[in-house]
């Protein structure tokens, strides 16, 4: 019995791996990826302008790492990772139904859950890579005169990990949304810039109903400054709880996406 289960698991994992490698390769070439890769360079451009201005205006009092931390919260955490996760997560299911290519996948000896998990993993890898390149470049530009300070790299690593966790969690949620709804992008935008941006500022336990609450809990306490209001009223969860909750949300929404995708009948238009 155990051997049979092990065989099934290894067959399933092999299916996930195959789907992953196919869609990682396809995703790399996709026009959508190229567009979003360019889009993810927006904070790099902003970092460049800020640094350029600092150097040539002679007003370089503000530390590069301080600007970098604000860039992470303002552009990455509250905007870019949401956009990347939304467009790649929802497309796990919707690009197959809208593009009518689903038929090529569902007539193969692989489970529908393997399709969801394989595509999710491939697209999450892509968005994490896109985000990491932008974050690294922004960091290098903003700290160009302080690159010998190794303590700064710890901050870089922490921020990349937090954003990566955010992408893993949000992409799982949007994968579920894409499998569930036809107009998932609109609902996803409302969730991203409505729910997430509002609920996180609610006092007490209410803010714990947003994913961003757990991500912000992993970042250091807010400093005073121009953008400190973005951490306003944050009552952070302990680090362990935050990581556990992000993991739990990811697992729950991926399971729901798999169940839904397996049971739902996608009728492709003739």
């Amino acid at each position: 019995m155990n051997q049979k289960n092990t065989g099934r698991l290894s067959f399933f994992l092999d299916s996930v791996k195959n789907v992953y490698s196919i869609f990682l390769s396809m995703g790399r070439r996709a026009k959508k990826t190229k567009i979003f890769f360019l889009f993810s360079f927006l904070p790099v451009v902003i970092a460049f302008i800020i640094k350029f201005n600092q150097i040539f205006s002679g007003r370089g009092k503000i530390q590069g790492i301080y600007i970098f931390s604000n860039l992470i919260v303002v552009f990455y955490l509250q905007f870019l990772i949401l956009i990347l996760a939304l467009f790649f997560g929802t497309s796990v299911a919707s690009e197959e139904t809208e593009g009518q290519t689903l038929i090529y996948l569902t007539t193969r000896p692989i489970s529908k859950s393997a399709i969801v998990l394989g595509k999710y993993s491939a697209y999450t890898t892509l968005v994490i890579l896109m985000m990491s390149v932008g974050v690294l470049l922004s960091f290098l530009i903003l700290n160009v005169n302080n690159l010998g300070n190794f303590s700064l790299y710890k901050i870089l690593l922490r921020d990349v990990v937090v954003l990566g966790l955010g992408l893993i969690c949000y992409t799982a949620f949007f994968t579920f949304l894409g499998a569930f709804l036809k107009k998932s992008i609109i609902v996803g935008l409302v969730f991203s810039f409505g729910w997430e941006n509002v609920i996180q500022y609610f006092p007490g336990s209410t803010q714990r109903f947003s994913i961003i609450h757990y991500l912000k809990s992993l970042l250091p306490a807010p400093r005073t400054g121009r953008f400190s209001f973005l951490m306003f009223r944050l009552e952070p969860s302990p680090t362990g709880t935050a990581i556990f909750m992000l993991f739990l949300i990811t697992v729950i929404f991926l399971c729901l996406a798999c169940i839904l995708f397996s049971q739902k009948e996608y009728i492709l238009e003739d």
Binding site: S25, P109, I110
Partner: protein, 308 residues
């Protein structure tokens, strides 16, 4: 012979629209043609037997197993969909190898099988071009390649000849027939009778979501032959030609167009009338501009058969 595909009281609705109604049949190895006019329910039937959609009522079994969510069965099934949709940004080679990988073949086997499938459909030379740049015929052949690449026992082809030029059509028909001798089950749909006729004698007629008839193709041929047929001839001397036709006992009626340059002939023996035409034209020195058959389509035949 043991049936490969079995359906029992199979019914499917799309909201209030009936897709298929109470279909009970068995399909054995060999080529089976699913014939019916557009919108008759052919694609719905094929989607049901390949587990793409769930039946509202009834069951579908492939080799005795239910098909819905039974992904393991797809190691023996190849499906060529009617819709012309692809992952446009990859090459033909990448398309076929990617789908073969999902069959858990080794890397070398994937390449061997992809090469063989693309050779069969004569796409080897164009395998490294992106699919977006393929012609319609090439895309049809690529769809066929992905359906046969894993060497399936059951091949389901939904309108594989649609939109192809005569040469492309001949190639695909030849390919389909070449699989017949290998003990496989091939189910192919079309709304064009001569296409099905060129591939098989065993047909299932679908009309308005129901199985109208099934069996040997001669049966439907006989039905068609008794169907009064209208032929339109546009020529230089329509009146003279009409006088010749009126003497034939298989010509039921002759009408003239308002401009008197063409005539409509109603016959109950289309083949005999067509064989007479060349000699009539030559003997009477009649110049012909056009010969058409306004109701030479399956819909007209079905309308006649169901007594509309």
């Amino acid at each position: 012979m043991k049936p490969i595909v079995e359906t029992k009281n199979l019914s499917k609705w799309y909201g209030n629209v009936l897709g298929l109604s109470d279909v009970t049949l068995q399909i054995e190895p060999g080529i089976t043609g699913i014939l019916g006019p557009n919108g008759a329910g052919k694609s719905t039937f094929l989607k049901l037997i390949t587990g793409q959609i769930k039946p509202n009522i009834g069951t579908v079994k492939i080799k005795g197993q239910k098909i819905w969510n039974n992904y393991r069965l797809f190691s023996i099934i190849g499906f060529c969909p009617e819709q012309d949709f692809f992952y446009e940004e990859i090459t033909g080679w990448q398309f076929v190898t990617s789908l073969l990988k999902l069959h858990h073949f080794s890397e070398s086997e994937v390449e061997t099988r992809a090469q063989k499938a693309l050779e069969i459909v004569e796409l080897v030379e164009d395998k490294d071009r992106v699919i977006r740049s393929y012609s319609h015929g090439m895309r049809q052949r690529l769809k066929f390649a992905q359906a046969i690449a894993h060497d399936p026992e059951i091949i389901v082809l939904d309108e594989p000849l649609s939109g192809l030029d005569p040469l492309g059509r001949r190639k695909i028909i030849h390919l389909i027939k070449s699989y017949k001798g290998e003990g496989r089950t091939i189910i192919v749909s079309s709304h064009v009778l001569p296409e099905i006729e060129a591939m098989t004698k065993r047909i299932i007629l679908i009309h308005q979501g129901k199985i109208f008839a099934q069996g040997d193709i001669h049966y439907i041929r006989d039905l068609i032959d008794t169907h009064p047929h209208i032929i339109s001839i546009k020529c230089s001397n329509a009146r003279q030609l009409a006088s010749k036709f009126i003497q034939q006992d298989y010509v039921l009626k002759v009408h003239f167009s308002s401009s008197n340059d063409s005539l409509l002939i109603e016959t109950n023996n289309r083949d005999k009338l067509f064989s007479l035409l060349p000699s009539l034209f030559i003997e009477n020195k009649i110049e012909v501009d056009e010969i058409t058959s306004p109701d030479d389509n399956l819909q007209a035949v079905f309308d006649y058969l169901v007594g509309k």
